[in-house]
């Protein structure tokens, strides 16, 4: 039992340290480099990079790495909390090693126990158990032995809840929506009643969104050959005209709208 070779020789190139991971670990533990100066994130990044190069992941090594990094992170976070724990902050290198060693040994204990559980599980899996509901007659209390367990008032109160009308839903925050289909059918019915109309007369009071959608509806009617329009000057009045399907082309003198 020792650190896996795959982990020890992980090469690092950090601001405060260049060399293999195990060396960094050692000099950190000997307090030759302060853990506070070590970017643990960069070590993790270096390890991930290594994994990518290898193209495969050795689970044992990866787990061991995570344990180490987690322990280092914890030690570092303790160091970063001034005075939070004087004993730990002033931990001797030997003690720090002990802390790390005991962490790793503790983890290994459960890793080995997990392997044994896994074997037991595999051995026991062929035994199958029944999971069927109880027959109906066993699923309820026998009338003879039943006693009062519920308050009748709970029923009356439930009826009270059901008699309470639901709150009216507040729709004030909902923005007006305009349906293209509705505008198309509105234009159609106007054009059925009269062969032409002035856009502003009809829709001048509407909000901008409604006006825009109405213009869009007008384009749709045009594409269907049902209407066209005339506008003789920029931003001038728009005259919408019902067309015969034979000849439809909007007579745009200036830029439309």
């Amino acid at each position: 039992m020792a650190l896996r070779a795959g982990l020890l020789d992980l090469d690092l190139d950090l601001d405060v340290f260049v060399g293999p991971f195990d060396l960094l670990l050692t000099i950190v533990l000997r307090e030759e480099v302060s853990l506070l100066e070590v970017e643990l994130g960069e070590i993790a990044a270096a390890y991930v990079e290594r994994l990518e190069e290898q193209g495969e992941i050795e689970l044992d090594v990866a787990t061991e790495f995570l344990i180490l990094i987690a322990s280092l992170l914890e030690l570092k976070s303790r160091l970063m909390l001034p005075g939070a724990d004087e004993d730990l902050a002033s931990m001797e290198p030997a003690e720090a090693v002990e802390e790390l060693v005991s962490r790793m040994l503790e983890y290994r204990r459960y890793r080995d126990a997990a392997a044994v559980l896994d074997q037991i599980f595999a051995k026991e899996r062929p035994f199958l158990f029944r999971s069927a509901p109880l027959p109906p007659e066993l699923r309820r209390v026998a009338v003879e032995s039943a006693t009062k367990v519920y308050e009748p008032d709970s029923l009356a109160s439930a009826i009270g809840d059901l008699l309470t009308p639901p709150e009216q839903i507040d729709l004030s925050h909902v923005k007006t929506t305009v349906s293209l289909r509705q505008r198309v059918s509105m234009l159609k019915s106007i054009l059925t009643a009269s062969s032409s109309f002035d856009f502003d007369d009809r829709f001048g009071q509407e909000d901008r969104l409604t006006q825009a959608v109405t213009i869009f509806a007008l384009l749709q009617l045009f594409s269907e050959g049902e209407a066209t329009w005339e506008q003789t000057e920029n931003c001038g009045p728009i005259k919408v005209i019902r067309t015969d399907r034979a000849n439809s082309r909007p007579r745009v003198v200036a830029d439309p709208v």
Binding site: R130, V141, A146, Y150, P152, L155, I159, L162, L163, T164
Partner: protein, 199 residues
């Protein structure tokens, strides 16, 4: 135990069928068993015969029975009392809100159909009705003119609510938010329910 040594490595077909019937919560047909065992229906039928003989040969607690086109294992007669003592423990967990509402509707309006319950609550009440039925608090009481099952409360309901009769149901007026409304309870529940569905 010594006997174990004699049993073969792999269960034979009758033993496999026994295990399958044991595991299956619903009856299994000969065809289903044949497919599961990768064997012929005729072999399955023979295996069921063997199983029946084995189970019948000694004093056994289980028996193989044909129910509704399938086979199932069941307990032999004569164990009802013991099984009730072991398993029919009073099951009276607190009622959920859905169950309480559904039960209240049935208690006050009975007999009442499921669509009506759903209309009053504004949501489908299938699972509440199912669990109240399973717990024996409500029971079916025929069908409405339109074919919907209608429900009423059971005798067990009266006992677990400590009521001598339905007359003793508490007057809901104490909990009534709109006491001035003089319409009949059913009518009022339905009209509030309609608001719940379409706000």
């Amino acid at each position: 135990m010594e006997a174990h040594q004699e049993s073969p490595e792999r269960p034979d077909l009758a033993a496999t069928v026994e295990a399958l019937l044991f595991l299956s919560p619903t009856p299994a047909s000969v065809d289903q068993l044949a497919e599961a065992c990768e064997s012929d229906p005729s072999e399955i039928e023979a295996a069921i015969g063997v199983l029946d003989e084995r189970l019948g040969a000694g004093p056994r607690g289980l028996t193989v029975r044909k129910v509704g086109g399938g086979w199932t294992l069941a307990t032999v007669p004569g164990v009802e009392e013991a099984s009730r003592r072991l398993l029919a423990k009073p099951r009276t967990p607190p009622l959920t809100q859905a169950q309480a509402e559904t039960l209240a509707i049935i208690a006050y309006l009975q007999p009442v159909s499921r669509p009506e319950i759903a209309r009053i609550r504004g949501v489908s009440s299938e699972s509440a009705v199912a669990s109240l039925t399973e717990r024996g608090l409500i029971e079916e009481s025929g069908k409405s003119r339109f074919g919907a099952v209608i429900y009423k409360t059971s005798q067990l309901f009266e006992k677990v609510f400590g009521l001598e009769s339905l007359e003793q149901l508490p007057d809901p007026s104490r909990f009534d938010p709109t006491p001035e409304d003089e319409r009949e309870l059913r009518e009022r529940l339905l009209s509030v329910g309609d608001q719940r569905i379409e706000p």
